[in-house]
Symmetry: C2
Subunit: 149 residues, 2 copies
DNA sequence: CTTGATTGGTACGATATCGCACTATATAGG
DNA sequence: CCTATATAGTGCGATATCGTACCAATCAAG
């Protein structure tokens, strides 16, 4: 009985997480220029946080998506002038992804554009509760990541 | 400064939620028959939880997806024999979605197939922490749902 | 009733995701 | 060195998502 209870709580957690993901993605994409969606933004953000010059395969692994998906996402970013792909001098098979100023500006501008909405949320939602769930979500993500076969 | 701190925590929360959504979806889809993905399962589950006979537009609203997407998802379920679409006697424009035994079995069987993995998570992860975040996630989902313009 | 506006559903096209197959390059074993 | 294997990237096809346009049925105003 206790197991059943716990399992339904767990399924509920995943269900709520799915909905929140959908809503937060919509919030983000409403602020992106036409033709760009969440994965494009995530890639720009990753390049700013971790430094650019990474290879496409590195980023595919970081996001846990197939390399074909990353190729496609990068093609979209390159077409819009947000990143530049150059040959990797260390490995003739691969490339390196470099941010352009336009890419940096888009990422930072989008964050700023979302700030009002986020500040509103922080002001209207119990901040302590948000702070409390953050580490649990991180640990849950780490657990599931490790459990992935 | 405090605002900035809170905002980065909030962005982190959304980022972790995005990753957990991806991992939990992969967990689910690994147990679904070929050609079915998470939205198919969600529809079956919804029909079991809320009762079948709902119209496609009802379900599109429930999942907050465009009606064209729901048409497509239902077409896949119907093709596999998991649901039946019948004219709505109350409204000549619309249809009703009915579960088949095969649809019910798939949903229940998939839940059972995931149970071991979920039980493992529950046994290895601090259950109290999972129980603690559940209501916060629900309230956050409710808040964001209401804030959606 | 009649007629204009609204609503449920679908066809279609654009883009996204991802598995498979292929090429080019790199690496490891001998 | 040579050769077998592994790896990075891409082309292609199948399916998914979703906006636009459209049709048929309903509803609402008179």
């Amino acid at each position: 009985m206790k197991d059943n209870l716990d399992l339904s709580v767990l399924f509920d957690v995943f269900k709520e997480i799915g909905i929140i993901e959908q809503l937060s993605r919509a919030l983000l994409e409403a602020r992106l220029p036409d033709g760009l969606i969440a994965p494009h933004f995530s890639v720009l953000s990753h390049l700013i946080n971790r430094g650019d010059g990474a290879t496409p395969i590195d980023m595919a692994r970081a996001f846990q998506v197939p390399k074909t998906s990353m190729t496609h996402t990068l093609k979209g970013l390159e077409k819009g002038g947000y990143v530049t792909l150059r040959p990797n001098p260390q490995d003739g098979r691969s490339k390196q992804v470099w941010l352009t100023d336009k890419g940096r500006d888009l990422r930072n501008g989008t964050l700023q554009a979302m700030a009002p909405e986020m500040l509103k949320l922080v002001s209207e939602f119990d901040t302590d509760r948000l702070l409390a769930i953050a580490p649990v979500l991180t640990d849950l993500r780490i657990y599931m990541d490790a459990a992935r076969d």
